[in-house]
């Protein structure tokens, strides 16, 4: 094996194949024994003040996060072959089709793909709340009970900058599957089957926001404050902008329009931001992660601890989830702010899913090809229309410059 081959394999291994999600997402595997299933969640000591130990310096954000992770053992009976979120790396280049061309059966191909277990999340919530509204009201009441709950913290909180990481950690697919409702379990299995067969469907490939898919992945890159407005955004792989309005209620139902990023309201509890999000389009993040329904509502609590931004997330979705789900993200602030790059997915994407559900691409010369290089498509369109008029394919309408003024 020459050095280049070795290096290529090694890099592929690190980047695509073997990189455990905890390595990609910060932190590390939790200490302690492994188990086939998630252990019982540790109930919150003070549900109304979950970050108390972090605030007091008795716990780091990473230690807070580690409470809600566990080490998943290899289960020989796991129908998902002990994979977490990185199965997509094994299949996204159409690996099954290549194996099929080499004469392998699907079972042989799938049996050749074996995960190793590893870090996963305890998705059960440490709180006793049964709905987002109940959760919000409890935290709001606690905040008002001596801690303010104001539209702005008494000391302005600087969360500006570039915040990376933030993922709650890898989630074993069997844990996602177990966490889904009876109605959504088959849909989750279908999504994994599609990824194994090379029929990945990710929101971004259609220029849709990934939004708040699987509990393990949580990403934004930039936070900006403008008075009562908090703007989180993540420019890649598609642009995702999220606006959180502080100190206001949700819009009335006749003005409330569902969207992929939803509607978010917030209040400050000291220098912790509590956010309630609802009015979502159903969505899935893809990449082996779980889907949610339009009923999903989410309560988040953010706290800046040094160069970390800690977020505690509880998701309520009685349609897609068997029970409320909980996860914790820890973002790290980049030393230097990098100017976000614009995302041009809408004007450059020629990816589509064909009538058989396979991913495909429109090439130059094919009907429907989006001209990536035409930066003035409006002018191209006007010229086409003028030509159509000349050909008599549209009602005559002479140039207004030729017609001149009439008064």
């Amino acid at each position: 094996m020459n050095m280049w081959t070795f290096t290529t394999i090694l890099l592929s291994g690190v980047v695509l194949t073997a990189s455990p999600a905890w390595a990609q997402r910060g932190g590390g595997p939790p200490a302690g024994p492994t188990s086939l299933r998630p252990p019982a969640v540790t109930r919150a000591t003070d549900a109304a003040d979950p970050f108390a130990a972090v605030r007091a310096g008795r716990q780091t954000p990473q230690q807070y996060q580690a409470q809600y992770r566990y080490n998943a053992a290899v289960d020989p009976a796991d129908p998902f072959h002990n994979w977490g979120g990185n199965l997509w790396n094994q299949t996204w280049e159409g690996n099954w089709l290549a194996a099929y061309r080499d004469g392998k059966t699907f079972q042989q191909f799938w049996n050749g793909l074996q995960g190793n277990g590893g870090q996963s999340l305890i998705l059960a919530t440490p709180y006793s709340y049964t709905s987002a509204e109940e959760h919000w009201r409890a935290w709001r009441t606690a905040a008002n009970g001596g801690r303010g709950g104001a539209a702005q913290p008494s000391t302005p909180t600087d969360w500006s900058g570039q915040w990376g990481g933030g993922g709650a950690g890898n989630v074993m697919q069997r844990d996602y599957y177990a966490s889904m409702s009876a109605a959504y379990k088959p849909r989750f299995a279908m999504s994994i089957q599609a990824e194994i067969e090379g029929r990945h469907w990710w929101p971004a490939d259609s220029c849709l926001p990934n939004a708040y898919g699987g509990a393990g992945t949580w990403a934004f890159r930039y936070a900006n404050f403008n008075g009562p407005l908090v703007h989180f955004n993540n420019p890649n792989p598609v642009y995702e902008g999220r606006y959180i309005v502080v100190g206001r209620d949700f819009l009335p139902p006749d003005q409330s329009i569902p969207s992929f990023m939803g509607e978010s309201i917030a209040f400050w509890d000291r220098d912790e931001l509590v956010v309630w999000t609802k009015n979502l389009h159903p969505n899935m993040r893809g990449h082996g992660e779980a889907e949610y329904s339009a009923e999903m509502q989410m309560i988040e609590r953010y706290y800046r601890s040094g160069d970390n931004l800690l977020v505690d997330v509880t998701r309520y979705d009685p349609v897609a989830y068997a029970a409320p789900q909980h996860s914790v993200g820890v973002f790290a602030r980049a030393a230097e702010y990098q100017v976000p790059l614009q995302n041009d997915c809408v004007s450059t994407n020629n990816v589509f899913h064909d009538e058989k559900g396979w991913i495909a691409d429109v090439a130059p010369g094919q009907p429907g090809y989006k001209d990536i290089f035409d930066l003035t498509p409006w002018y191209t369109n006007w010229m086409k229309a003028e030509e159509a008029k000349k050909q008599g394919q549209a009602p005559p309408a002479p140039s207004i410059l030729e017609l001149g003024g009439t008064r």
Partner: protein, 140 residues
Amino acid sequence: MNKMILGGITATLIAAFTVAIVPVQAHHSHAMFDGSKEVVIEGTITGVRFANPHVYLQVRAVKKDGVALSAPETWAVEMSTVQNQTQRGLTPTVLTYGATITVKMNPLFSGERSGNYTSVMAINGVKNTSAAEDWKPAGG
């Protein structure tokens, strides 16, 4: 290769990537590209779009797999993100409109004129010393 050297390289690379890697979400799967094939086209860059999620080139190809075409063909070449391409040395000042280029790609299964690049072999007659996705011009 000496085990100690292998171990050292492994540790260094893993350390580097563990630090450098941020949560990765690919824009789309590459299952539409035939990873078992590579097509090489030679021609002139007639379009450059430095954009996310993908940088694209449009090439007016005059040769395919070293054979002159009977008529020029327009190809679209998909690359990675702006950040990745910049890190690889394939910047807007390297990929310029009107430059001649030889580029290798995994073609679409459909057989249409588009693919996902695996290597830029030469630009304006300057050969690439890297066989991978980086641009390391000879004499550069």
